[in-house]
Symmetry: C2
Subunit: 594 residues, 2 copies
């Protein structure tokens, strides 16, 4: 009974007016063909596909789940046909390079499309998501013949890809990885080991599946410096592209999960399976990070998609459900009770979802815009700057939007009361589906360490400097604008505090390494909330007469709600950081239970 | 694979040392027989039953669920046998009056037992929970013959009870209730209507089920002033107790839910079913509130039980799972990696669960102790005071502990990483089961309005005054104790702010009724966190040499964690309250989507 409408209005507002994507592209000599009209047409067509084809399969996919029989996984009814139409529409190659059969469109547009896919059907979206990660790795690291033979069929959608990283004893810690790769006389490798939690590891959407597998060569150094990346197709593929016999890779079982039940999560057994090395020996982690960073941003979009979908349904229900009168007097005396949207706390829950969905959309698309500039800006300095920005924002987009997806799908369900807990209403599925997003592709804890340990400490906070610089320029540019003062004031104060807090942590971590881990998750949230404040201020600044009075009023009220009711969360996170590591580290492990 | 140990050590510490229950009873002339030894023996026996009988049925009950065939509901395998043993052990009547066949033990002990039942198997615990609520209503409102005929078999466990309130169009708003009761010539009533979300409405544990049903008499006033309460048994029962033919009440369907799948949630159709009026006509809401308040505290215990269970498992996993090295150097160089409990953010998640479980236990049992004093203290002034305290704390216990159960089962799952999302590990079930607790027996929003609208505004905050008075006495008594200063200082400041914040809201709500609704949920959280701070300070104050050095260190470190990392959440809630209602009310309903 859950509904979904494509949020085309807000997507266009963010891409064209808030981020001014076309002007950015023009300034950097990129995507000359991606006109406003073309982007709008793509968004509209994608929205139609998501609403008409994918959304109706969401509940049934959850109820039906995937089935494993004799090593073959069946996806739920309708998934194959939807995937066929998706390929026919050219969607699998939307952002891929024309030389690989793609349409060469910007990632920021691909991200907007992906948000809608994830809103409509998160489980179904997992299959193309994994292909996109594998494509990126192949594009950047593979040899020419490998791109010809493996990348092109993935871009066309004829085959899908996977990322085979995790093993039973090693998830976050890839240093413990055990899967082995023995060289064969013909230049291929024999891959042996067990991988778990492999999304799209086995399914019935395509005849072949291209596994990208992390494994150790003989005599490889221990730890993460001894990991290489291999292509292991389900059916063997020769260097000329000829598809041969079944390879020695098999799905041993599929997981029974809390949610994303229509996404097949496989245990994959490699038994001397034939594979090709991609990139340099022992440099597999670099290639893995290409896939991983793509996937991390994509999981942030999953969070966004679920927030949007939960919001749309909670709003519709709150307008419809009659229960009690407004405390300030009946608002609909013609009805037996008022719709619950009159109650302040229902509005708080709705506005939280709205503010996070719309602010989060600007944040995520801004990151993707920098992914485009990183790859396509003509000026190398601009490319490097964009790289630093997107690398800094990736853990924030992933960590913040997935944690807030857990919160917002909670609010959406709560608006429904008891009906929210009943499967047929669909709200509980969003909460269950959201719960994986803070875990896979690196838990929130891993994102936080990546942000603070790698992006701030190791990379001297280059991305943060760019981002703070931008906020400074924005606040200065708006200094004479009284309509913006209620936003730029708190924003500028927060930007200053953000910098100070960062310096404090860096100094403290110098004296005690535990301070970094003790601060990391709160720092991620702190950073995320300030980033959202920046994008909400930009949304208000981007409003003009052409947007219509209702749209302007809606944005302005939501921005105020964000600044007054959500942004103050930063105070809690700053206090937690400043309370230091001792309150976490003092208790000996043995005394956690006495 | 989920484990459970009965937290007997901490339950005894709270009951005997923190709350000094026996001394309180002695002071108020109540429960002379409830000695420390007897209480300990009951706890131990209950713990054994929960661990050995109930806990092993938790996962299988979730997988199997309830089945409805030809109007009859089958509970999962093992549930009937467990219920039989439960009755045989006399547990159904533990806190019931001896004159009704009960054992006359205090509710505070019953609550400790109930926490363990809920940890072990929340779904199974729903069946006795509903009986307990029905018992309380019958005890206080029913006529003698009704108590003889209906209450005694519920106390013995021979029959179970239900609460039939909700209808499809009315959940929170009982004024909309439509079920009708027509008088029959023989003094009984014919009840007609449909009730939904009826827990334990139909099952195979007992041969008869006693439904307590809200309905309207002919010509009853509109709204909540025209609601009466009726006993409607599944099989008719004559005034002499003789069980007769099947009554015209039937289970039309059972709900498919996110969790508590082994608890049957029924649509109950009453088709001129024969019932007896309980209490006065049109005064059904009073009787309903007796059941409801009992049930609200009990749902708070459900939250507590899930937090404890999630914590135990997250702790065991975090000690066992090896992943990465501590940032301050290897802690287990003999192993391939350190156990994840070395990582600060894992500790933060564990300590959050520990601090909420142990502090929440003291809060909940304190409320139940006042339930005992309210019913059994010899002095009427003491009874009234206890009534005001428990009435004030009920929405806090229910609202806070269930919301924190959602948070803490989230943390527990997160500690497990990807394995937390897989059903066989059991952690995701706790998160799903927890999700109903913020909804049923009144949503968090309803609790918050009850707290601020009824307990503060209408009752002039009598309960709050008693509670603040107690905190003041405690802080004064500890004024000379340097070991307590780090806790009593912030506690006294918060108590003062709590009072000021309350006054501010009361004043503001006078000018604008929406301010009450806009503040309510944040006020509930604010109140709850200060209450937990008070109980953590009392836990530290109760520590003595007899508790052992490890126990003392564990409590002290957890109290510090609570005060430094959790209590500051009050700042966020105070800021939200002080930001006022405008940021929630300004946006016209029509502009929530544009």
């Amino acid at each position: 009974m859950s509904q979904y409408q494509a949020p085309l209005h807000d997507l266009r507002f963010v891409i064209h007016d808030v981020l001014a994507a076309e002007a950015e592209f023009a300034r950097h000599g990129a995507f000359a063909d991606a006109s406003r009209d073309l982007i709008d047409a793509v968004l509209e067509e994608a929205g139609r596909f998501c609403v008409q084809v994918l959304a109706p399969l969401n509940r049934s996919g959850d109820e039906e789940g995937c089935r494993l029989e004799e090593g073959a996984v069946s996806t739920p009814q309708g998934f194959r046909e939807a995937y066929r139409q998706f390929c026919e529409g050219g969607w699998t190659g939307l952002t891929a390079e024309p030389e690989h059969g793609g349409q060469g469109m910007p990632e920021v547009l691909g991200a907007a499309v992906k948000e809608m896919i994830d809103s409509a059907n998160l489980s179904w979206g997992m299959y193309p998501l994994l292909s996109h990660g594998a494509s990126e790795a192949l594009k950047h690291v593979a040899e020419d013949w490998q791109r010809e033979v493996f990348l092109k069929p993935i871009v066309s959608g004829e085959w899908t890809g996977t990322m085979c990283l995790t093993e039973p004893h090693c998830g976050s810690d890839l240093a413990l990885l055990k899967t082995r790769a023995e060289p064969n006389p013909d230049g291929t490798f024999a891959i042996t080991g067990t991988k778990i939690f492999i999304s799209a590891g086995e399914h019935d959407l395509t005849p072949n599946i291209v596994h990208l597998v992390l494994a150790r060569l003989p005599d490889a150094p221990a730890g993460t410096k001894g990991i290489s990346l291999f292509i292991v197709p389900k059916f063997k593929v020769a260097r000329d592209g000829a598809v041969g016999a079944r390879n020695a890779v098999a799905c041993g079982s599929i997981e029974h999960k809390m949610g994303i039940k229509a996404s097949s999560t496989c245990v994959m057994n490699f038994d001397a399976a034939e594979g090709y090395l991609i990139g340099q020996p022992n440099k597999g982690l670099n290639a893995m990070f290409i896939m991983m960073n793509t996937a991390r941003l994509a999981v942030g979009l999953q969070g966004l998609g679920l927030i949007e979908r939960a919001y749309q349904n909670a709003l519709a229900y709150s307008r419809d459900r009659l229960q009690m009168r407004s405390l300030s007097g009946a608002k609909r005396p013609d009805k037996p009770a008022d719709p619950i949207i009159v109650h302040p706390d229902v509005r708080r829950m709705l506005l939280t979802q709205k503010a996070i969905a719309e602010g989060g959309r600007a944040l995520a698309l801004y990151a993707y815009l920098h992914e485009d500039l990183k790859q396509k800006a003509t000026d190398p300095t601009a490319r490097q700057r964009a790289d630093e920005v997107v690398s800094f924002l990736t853990p924030i987009v992933k960590g913040l939007l997935t944690e807030l997806a857990v919160e917002c799908t909670y609010h959406g369900l709560q608006c429904f009361g008891g009906h929210g807990y009943i499967r047929e209403w669909g709200m509980e599925q969003f909460a269950r589906d959201a719960r994986i997003t803070t875990i896979y592709e690196g838990t929130t804890q891993i994102q936080a360490i990546d942000l603070l340990g790698r992006k701030i400490m190791q990379q001297q906070g280059a991305g943060l400097r760019h981002f703070l610089g931008e906020i400074g320029v924005f606040c200065q540019a708006q200094a004479g604008n009284p309509a913006l003062a209620e936003f730029t004031g708190p924003l500028a104060r927060h930007a200053k505090d953000w910098q100070a807090l960062t310096m404090e942590i860096v100094q403290r971590a110098g004296g005690n390494a535990e301070e970094l881990g003790a601060a990391a998750v709160d720092y991620l949230f702190y950073s995320g909330y300030v980033a959202l404040a920046y994008f909400w201020a930009r949304e208000v600044a981007a409003l003009g007469p052409s947007h219509g009075a209702g749209f302007r009023e809606s944005k302005l009220a939501t921005a105020r709600f964000y600044f007054q009711r959500i942004l103050p969360r930063t105070g809690l996170h700053a206090a937690a950081i400043r309370s230091g590591a001792d309150n976490l580290m003092a208790l000996p492990d043995a005394l956690f239970a006495v």
